[in-house]
Structure formats: C-alpha cells, structure tokens
C-alpha cells in the first residue's frame, strides 16, 4: 500500500521535488505519515511543523484527496491505498526573494 504526497510552493523548492511516494501500513494516519516523511525529507517537516508543539504551523493546509484534514479527523485521519495528500504553504518560508540578499 502506498500514498502520493504532492508538495507545493516553497515546500516543493525545499524538497527538490513535487511528488513523494511513501508506503503505508494498515492503520496509517496523517500524523504517522508525517513521521515517515520526516525521515525521508526532514526539510519538509521542518517547514510545515512547529518544532515545539509538533502541530501544523498556522495557515498551512494538508488536503486528503482534495479535502482539508480539519474537515475530516485532523491529523488522526486514516489513510488508505492510493490516497493523495497535498501540502500547501501559505507562508513563504519567512523570507521573500527580495530579502534573500
């Protein structure tokens, strides 16, 4: 069983890819998936999770098959084979291009 993770915006730039495929278990949820993702692409997890609380940074959206996880079961939402997770940043990683000088 596997899921497809689509990355957008700055997260895509940081990860160097727009798609990550990960194998999953029977009882996989969004938060266990993020743990898996942190091993493969730690830079993505750094970008989207608050290190002190372990929660999604404000204004980030994770969509499961086009639905925001807050409309489902949040990070405890169960995943199944061939699900698509899309991660969207609203925060441009703190610095815009102009300030990176």
């Amino acid at each position: 069983m596997e899921v497809v993770i689509k990355l957008h915006g700055d997260i895509r730039e940081k990860a160097g890819t727009d798609t990550v495929k990960l194998p999953i278990n029977e009882n996989e949820t969004v938060d266990t998936l993020l743990i898996r993702l942190s091993k493969r692409h730690p830079v993505v997890i750094e970008a989207i999770l608050d290190p002190t609380t372990g929660e999604l940074k404000p204004y980030f959206n994770i969509l499961l098959n086009g639905r925001r996880i807050q409309q489902l079961r949040g990070i405890h939402t169960k995943l199944k084979d061939r699900d698509e997770i899309a991660i969207f940043p609203p925060v441009a990683g703190g610095l815009t291009d102009f300030e990176k000088r």
Binding site: K6, H8, G9, R12, D18, P58, Y59, N61, L63, N65, G66, R67, R68, Q70, Q71, A86, F88, P89, P90, V91, A92, T96, D97, F98
Partner: protein, 629 residues
C-alpha cells in the same frame, strides 16, 4: 476636502465643484459617492449607452497616500451589459494622478460630437480631438498621448477597439496591464465618443492627522510583511490560487461543467514561475507587489511578453475553455488588454459558444468556419479579435452571453450568468459561500464585492477568533450552507468600506490583513472626521451604501427572482473531484441573507431599514415607482 470635476461632453464644457461635506460624511468615498450620485442623477430605465448615463471615475480618502494596498481607483455607471449597477476597480497609477491633479472624482456625461479625449492637467481641462487615436489599441493610445504632450509620465485611461464598437463587456485600461475590467464601462466611454482620459497632476495630497496617519502607515507596512498570504502573493501573484482550487475541485472547467481540470499543473503558479516568469511589478505604493510579467520562450506563442495573466484570466481563457497552453492564455489575455475587453466575460462568452458547438446547437458554418471544440486556442484567439472588431460571429458574442443566447434562440440554459454578468472563476457547489456571493452581488455574478474564502482555505483558528468558536466546523466547510449568509453579509459591509477608501481586495483576504477596525482608524486619521473612527458608524455607512446600491437595482425592477444561480450550480451535481455530487442550496442562504440585511422576502429593502440609514428619499422614490408598498 477635494474637488469634483464635472465634464459635459455634449456642450464640451467642464466645471469644478467642491466635494460636498455631507457626501463625505455619509458615504466616505469611491463606491459610496457613486451610489449617491448615480441614484440621484440617473432615471430608471435609461439606456446605458445614451448620453444621459454618468461615467464616474472615483478615488477615496486614501488614494495617493502611502497607506499600502491603496493604489487603486474605480469607475461607475449604469452597465450596458447588465442594465443595472455597474462598478469596476483597477490598480496601476491613474487614481493617485487624478488626486494629484486636484480631483477626488471625475463625473462625465453627455456625448461628444466627434471622437475626443479628455486632457486634465491640474486646473487645465481640455476636450481634444482623438485624431490618430480612434481605432488604436489601448497601449498605442497611451503611447501616442504621451508623445503628443511630450510627457512620458502622463497617466492615461483608455478604451480600445472594443469600446469604440460598444462591445457590451468592453473595458477601460490604464498602465498597460491594469483594467477596470467588468460590466462594460468601456462601451459607456465609447458611447460618449470618449477615447481616453489623460491626467497629469503636480499637487500633493495631505491628510488631517499626520502623526497618527503615518503611525498607521508603518503598522500597515509591517503587517503586509508578516501576513502569510501576502508573502505568497509577492512571489506568485494571483495564479497561486490555481493549484489549490484544482485540488479541492473548484477550478471551473469547460463552461463551469466541472471543477476539475486535467492539466491544471501546466497553468499553475509553480510552473509559471519556473518557465515563464520575467518580472514582478506593483501598483502604486503597494507593498504586496503581486503583479507579474511573463514571457513565452518557445512554441507557437514564442516571444509574447505581457503583464498577467491573473487567476481569473487563467480560468476564463484557460480552464473554462479547456485550454491548457499557457502561451495561449498569456497571448489571449494580452489581446484582451490591447483591444480593451473584459478577459472574464470574453472567455466566458467563448466558453458558452464552445459548449453550444460541442452539443451541436451551432454549426461550424455559423461559427465562421471555426472548429470550436474544447481547448482549441487558435479558435479562441480568432474569436477574441472578432468580438473586439464585431466581425462575423463576434458581433453576436459582443452582446454578452445572455443576449447572444437570446438572439441565437438557443443555448439559453447554458449561459453561466447572474443578472447577465458572466460568472467569475468560482463554483458554488464546492465553495458554498460563493454561491450566495454570486447570487446577491450588486453588479451581477461578481466575486469581489463579498467573496470570502473561509470555507475554501479554512484556517480554523482565525475563523474562531473572528466569528466565534461555536461556528466551527460548519463555517469552514465548503459543502454546507450554515453560517455562510452571515459571513457573506459581513464581508459585503466591510468591502463596501474597502471600496470607498479604495483599497485592494487583498488587503482583507483570508486571514485578513486589515478589517473594519483598521479601516475605521485610517479613514479617521486621513480625513480628520472623528465619526469614521467609531466602528458603529462605519458599519452604518457600509450598510447605507449596500442598501443604496441595492435600491438602484430595485428601481431597475430587480428582486429575488434575479438573485439566482444557473441551474448548473443548483441542479447539476458536481461531476468530479472531492466535491462530487454537491449542489448549491441557494434558497436557505438567500433567506438568511435577506433577514440579516433587513430586506423583505422579495429582496427589497424595507422602509424601516432604509429609514434607519437616513435613506428617506429612497423610500419615497421606491414607493413612487411601486417597488415598495
């Protein structure tokens, strides 16, 4: 305060009036001023292309100052496309220049005997022959006027060939990529034989409380720097909406049939930035800097360099016509800019005809031999030119999709409009609040006067703070009608103030950088009018404006029947994507909205509501015309 420049194009005379203090106190600026003037000066049933129509170019108390996102201006008239309230806003630099010339507003009426342009140079106002300008596109017109006057910094608002031919959705352009896009104000200008308005101003704008104002300016700049969506906007511009809307199944495709477009990644912000990005630009003194210029490096449209496209053009000239070629979208958008056409309406009208063609309702012969299958961008390009020049089938399409269907005698149920204005790039089936927005917006299927994205983007914490925790989770749920009327009404009020100060939609998106308290504070500091600083008063002004605009429409015989949606949204379940099966239940939201507005079941403002807002003259007028018992 400021001055109003009144120009009578028939008599070729102009006069300067003082801006009445009462007008400022009760209506603030921009859309507020226009609501009062158009209600007072236009007669119901008047032909929008007659000399009697007023075309108002308006600014607000913040125009020309350093407050950020305030580099905008707006125009108002009775719309020749819809026959009702017409309003359109633009960025660029024209608005501040009008203020620097000494005018808060320009009110045009009448009709010149031959093509002219208006030249406003501080106190010098001249009506000059548009020789060598008439027949030119908007970019050429701007360049020629600047050459003629020997000043490359003159600001020019002009129509292109489309406005000259009264194409019902012709627009007015300024600064090459900024547009008063919707509702056919370009046709109003054309009907007055007015090719352009050129302005040069050497004066300065002062505010009442300098220290307080500049404190708010600094705070505003800081907030934009920190706001997460603003930062994304700086990097990508409005195209950043494409990928997200594609995922949630709200990217209108093939005449709004569905919300899922197969190759949306070819048109999304990441792709655009990687392959086509050339430069970032900005409206006057704006910190967000969301405008982009793109360039096509290869393929059929190689060499095309143009400002834009905004998200709405990617929708109307891209996904909604089944087109996935970015070069085509950029080139089509450029043509709309040059000819002076509303890119939204143009794309929608073409999409309508494409669906008619695909369903066999029109033949290839009827379409001038064009093969109008979905995605054929050659045909799309050809149609844009035909529409602008009113040639062949373009002449039919130039009426707007509602009247085109009527003339054709076919395809009326495929026209995606509300109040005859083509629907913008949202779908109420998978974004429930927008179903209500489209249905009730004062100029027709407009997204800007009350668009909210709380049920599109979510952000539960922000929603809880603004609306109350008890409203979760429904308020963030795009598939339910609950609480949406409340959010839309609140936004419509706030945006009425926003459109009077004249400030950009992105100043109060989601999460909002600014909201009513911020507008109240800065309006008060700018004008010195203490009442503006009181929130209750601001809301009162907002509701006064919303009711007066509504009354303008009611006077044109509008009521609940027109606050509707195409059957596609209410009866055709969304065929694809995460929102598959969803329809919009408008009735529920409509009733709630009317209640919140203080309107009766037919959508007419009640005597009580109008009286409370000081609109007794409106009560009298509506009674006289039999619109109110």
């Amino acid at each position: 305060m400021g001055q109003v420049l009144r120009v009578d194009l028939t008599k070729e005379k102009s006069a300067v009036e003082q801006l009445p203090h009462e007008l400022v106190l009760n209506y603030l600026g921009g859309t507020g001023f226009a609501a009062r003037i158009l209600f007072n000066e236009l007669k119901p049933g008047m032909d929008p292309l007659s000399p009697e129509n007023r075309l108002i170019f308006a600014t607000g108390p913040l125009t020309g100052t350093l407050w950020t996102t305030a580099g905008r201006w707006a125009a108002f008239a009775k719309s020749p496309l819809t026959g009702i309230w017409g309003e359109s806003h633009s960025g660029g630099f024209f608005g501040p220049e009008l203020k620097y010339a000494g005018y808060d507003m320009l009110v045009l009426h009448g009709r010149a005997k031959r093509p002219v342009y208006l030249w406003v140079d501080d106190g010098t106002v001249e009506i000059l022959p548009a020789k060598g300008l008439w027949g030119r596109n908007t970019a050429e017109t701007t360049n020629l006027i600047r050459e003629q006057h020997g000043d490359r910094e003159i600001e020019v608002a002009s129509i292109g060939q489309a406005g000259e031919r009264f194409v019902r959705f012709a627009c007015i352009m300024n600064d090459y990529q900024d547009t008063l896009g919707r509702v056919g104000l370009g046709a109003v200008m054309g009907s007055k034989n007015l090719k352009a308005v050129a302005v040069r101003g050497s004066q300065a704008v002062k505010v009442a409380d300098d220290d307080k104002f500049m404190e708010l300016v600094e705070d505003a700049h800081e907030r934009v720097l920190k706001q997460p969506q603003a930062q994304q906007m700086t990097k990508y511009g409005t195209p950043l909406l494409v990928a997200y809307k594609s995922k949630i199944g709200e990217l209108p495709t093939r005449n709004h049939q569905t919300g899922v477009f197969a190759n949306s990644d070819k048109l999304d912000a990441d792709t655009i930035r990687a392959k086509y990005y050339a430069k970032t630009r900005s409206c006057f003194a704006c910190r967000i800097m969301c405008k982009k210029v793109n360039r096509i490096p290869e393929g059929k449209y190689k060499g095309t360099i143009s400002g834009g496209p905004e998200y709405e053009s990617i929708y109307s000239l891209g996904t909604n016509c089944g087109v996935d070629d970015f070069g085509a979208v950029l080139r089509a958008n450029q043509l709309c800019n040059l000819y002076g056409l509303d890119s939204i309406s143009a794309g929608c009208v073409i999409a309508w005809l494409m669906e008619c063609y695909e369903r066999g309702l029109v033949t290839r012969k009827q379409c001038d031999g064009l093969n109008l299958k979905w995605g054929n961008h050659d045909a799309m390009m050809a149609l844009i030119e035909k529409i602008a020049m009113r040639e062949g089938i373009g002449d039919l399409l130039a009426k707007g999709s509602y009247y085109a269907a009527k003339s054709l005698g076919k395809g009326a149920d495929l026209v995606m409009h509300v109040k005859k204005l083509e629907i913008s790039g949202q779908d109420g089936r998978t974004h429930r609040s927008v179903a209500l927005t489209h249905a009730i917006s004062v100029r027709g299927a407009d997204h800007l006067r009350s668009l909210v994205t709380v049920d599109q983007l979510g952000y539960e914490d922000t929603a809880a703070k603004r609306y109350g925790k008890d409203k979760l989770p429904e308020i963030c749920d795009p598939y339910t009608e609950k609480y949406k009327a409340m959010v839309v009404k609140d936004a419509e009020d706030t945006f009425a103030i926003r459109d009077s100060l004249i400030v950009c939609w992105y100043s109060c998106g989601w999460p909002p950088i600014f909201w009513m308290p911020d507008f109240a504070a800065v309006a008060s500091a700018a004008t010195g009018i203490k009442e503006f600083g009181r929130l209750k008063e601001m809301y009162r002004i907002a509701q006064r404006i919303c009711n007066l605009r509504r009354a303008f429409n009611v006077r044109e015989r509008l009521d609940k029947r027109h606050d509707s949606l195409p059957k596609r949204f209410t009866h055709e379940p969304m065929p694809d994507g995460p929102g598959k099966g969803q329809v919009a239940n408008l009735e529920l939201m409509l009733r709630e909205y009317y209640e919140l507005r203080g309107w009766n079941r037919r959508g007419i403002p009640t005597k009580r509501t109008l009286t409370e807002l000081g609109l007794l003259d409106v009560v009298r007028e509506l009674k006289r015309l039999g619109r109110m018992r």
